[in-house]
Subunit: 224 residues, 2 copies
DNA sequence: CGAATAGTGTCTCTCAGACAATATCGG
DNA sequence: CCGATATTGTCTGAGAGACACTATTCG
C-alpha cells in the first residue's frame, strides 16, 4: 500500500479578524465535513509541492496565489482513514478585497472560533496561524494581507490585528521606513472627513521575498 | 506510479566549525555518492515523519536523536531518477563529544566546503544551515550543540561560531540570564592554568522546547 | 607575583516609546 | 473655525555595548 501524498492550503485573510477558507468535502471519506482546500499531488503535472499547492488553490478557489509558502508536513497512519498519508501543508495570504471574485463555495471562519474540521486540519490551521503571527513580528509578511495600495495606518492596523496588541505609531513607522519596503504613490490619497493619508505600495524589488527587521515589533511569540 | 516518500536528516555538529554528517550510498541509484542519512518511510512502523527520521538516525548513525526537528519538504519529478519523490527533511543537532561512539561510516564535512552531494541534498543542507543560524539569533537552540554540562564561555563560543561574529560578553550573559534557561552545577568547575569557569546545565523545564529571547542576539539573517 | 581566563560593575550612547505639536481634510 | 485623522518633532528612560576592574586558578 503506497503512501498517500497530498497538499493542503491554509488560505488566510483579514476581514477584519484573521479568517481561514474552508470547503465542505464533496466525497468520501468524511463527505460534508469542513476541510482545507487540498488534494493529491499529481506526478504528471506538479513540478514540486509548492506548485501543487498553487494548482489546488487555483482549482478550488479561483485565486492565483498572491503569497504562498510551505508550512510543514503532517503524516501518519491515522490522519486519513484510507491509510498512511502525508500532507505538505502551505500557508497562503490574500487581501480581503480580492475575495469578491472567485470565492465560490468557500466558507470563511475566524481562526479563533473554528468548527470541527476533517482529518488533522485543525492542528494544521493552528500551526499556520502561529507561523503567520510569528513572522509578523519581524518581517514584512503582513503587507500581503493588504491590497496593492494601502496607507500606513491601514498597515499598522493589520500588524496590530495579527500581533493582538496596539503598536507605537512612531516606532512602527521607523521600522517600516528602515525596511526600505514601500514607496509613496504620488498624488493619490484616501478621502474622508479629515486629513487623508498617503498611499503606499511595495517597491518592485520587494515583491518576491519577505523583508526582515533587525528588531522585533512586539514581544516574543512561540515560533513554529 | 506512486510517489516515493522518504525522510532525510541533516545531522550537524560543531567541531570546531559547523559540520554535516554524510554517508556514501551503498546502492543504486547514485551508489557511492555522498548523501544525507535517509530512506523510505515505513508505513508499518513509523508513527509520523519525525519518528521516521529518528528511526533513520538510529539505524544509520547509532545516535538517539538529541535534538530533531522538521525542516521542510522537498519534492519533484527530477530529484530522484526513480520518479516523482518527496523528501521530508529534518535537522538534528548533536554535541561533538557524543560523536566518539556510534559514528561508524559517517563522514563529517564542514558545511562551508561541501563536496558534491547526491540528489538535491546540497540544497537541503543549505536550508538546514540557514535555519540553524537563524534560530541561533533568538533562541536557545545552540545549547543542543553543547554537551550536558558546559561553561558560559563555551556556550558563547558556540553562538559566535553559528552567528559568525563575536558577541558582547556582558550582553550575552544578560540574554542567557533573562531566558531563565540554565542552572549552575554546584561545586563543579573546569580546570586549567587560570580561573575555572562555572559549569551549567539546562533546567529540567527547558529540556523539551526551545526558549526564545525577545531581543535579537545579532544582526538579522534570512529566515527560512 | 604574573599570566591567563572568568565574572561583574559602571558609563555612555542609542533607540523605543510617550507626548505633543503641526498638517490637512470635510463640514 | 471645529472635529477628526495623518504626520512629524522632541524628550526621556531603558538597555546594549564598551571598558575596565575584580576574582581565581596554576606555576
Amino acid at each position: 500500500m503506497p503512501i498517500l501524498c497530498t497538499v493542503d492550503v491554509v488560505l488566510l485573510t483579514l476581514n477584519p479578524q484573521l479568517q481561514v477558507a474552508l470547503l465542505p468535502r464533496d466525497r468520501a471519506p468524511l463527505a460534508g465535513a469542513l476541510a482545507l482546500p487540498g488534494g493529491f499531488i499529481h506526478a504528471d503535472e506538479d513540478a514540486d509541492p509548492l506548485a501543487a499547492a498553487a494548482r489546488m488553490l487555483r482549482a478550488k478557489t479561483g485565486l492565483d496565489c498572491p503569497y504562498l509558502e510551505q508550512l510543514a508536513t503532517f503524516g501518519g497512519p491515522g490522519r486519513d482513514p484510507r491509510g498512511w498519508s502525508i500532507s505538505v501543508a502551505h500557508v497562503a495570504l490574500v487581501p480581503a478585497d480580492l475575495l469578491a471574485r472567485g470565492a465560490a463555495g468557500l466558507r470563511w471562519h475566524p481562526v479563533d472560533a473554528l468548527p470541527a474540521l476533517a482529518f488533522d486540519h485543525a492542528q494544521i490551521v493552528a500551526q499556520a496561524v502561529a507561523r503567520v503571527r510569528s513572522k509578523s513580528q519581524y518581517s514584512s509578511l503582513p503587507v500581503h494581507l493588504c491590497g496593492e495600495r494601502f496607507t500606513l495606518p491601514q498597515l499598522q492596523a493589520v500588524y496590530e490585528a495579527l500581533l493582538g496588541e496596539p503598536l507605537n505609531k512612531v516606532s512602527f513607522r521607523r521600522r517600516i521606513d528602515e525596511m526600505d519596503l514601500l514607496e509613496p504613490i504620488e498624488g493619490e490619497r484616501t478621502g474622508g472627513a479629515h486629513r487623508p493619508a498617503q498611499l503606499w505600495r511595495l517597491k518592485d524589488r520587494r515583491r518576491g521575498a519577505l523583508t526582515l527587521t533587525d528588531r522585533l515589533l512586539g514581544p516574543a511569540v512561540l515560533a513554529p
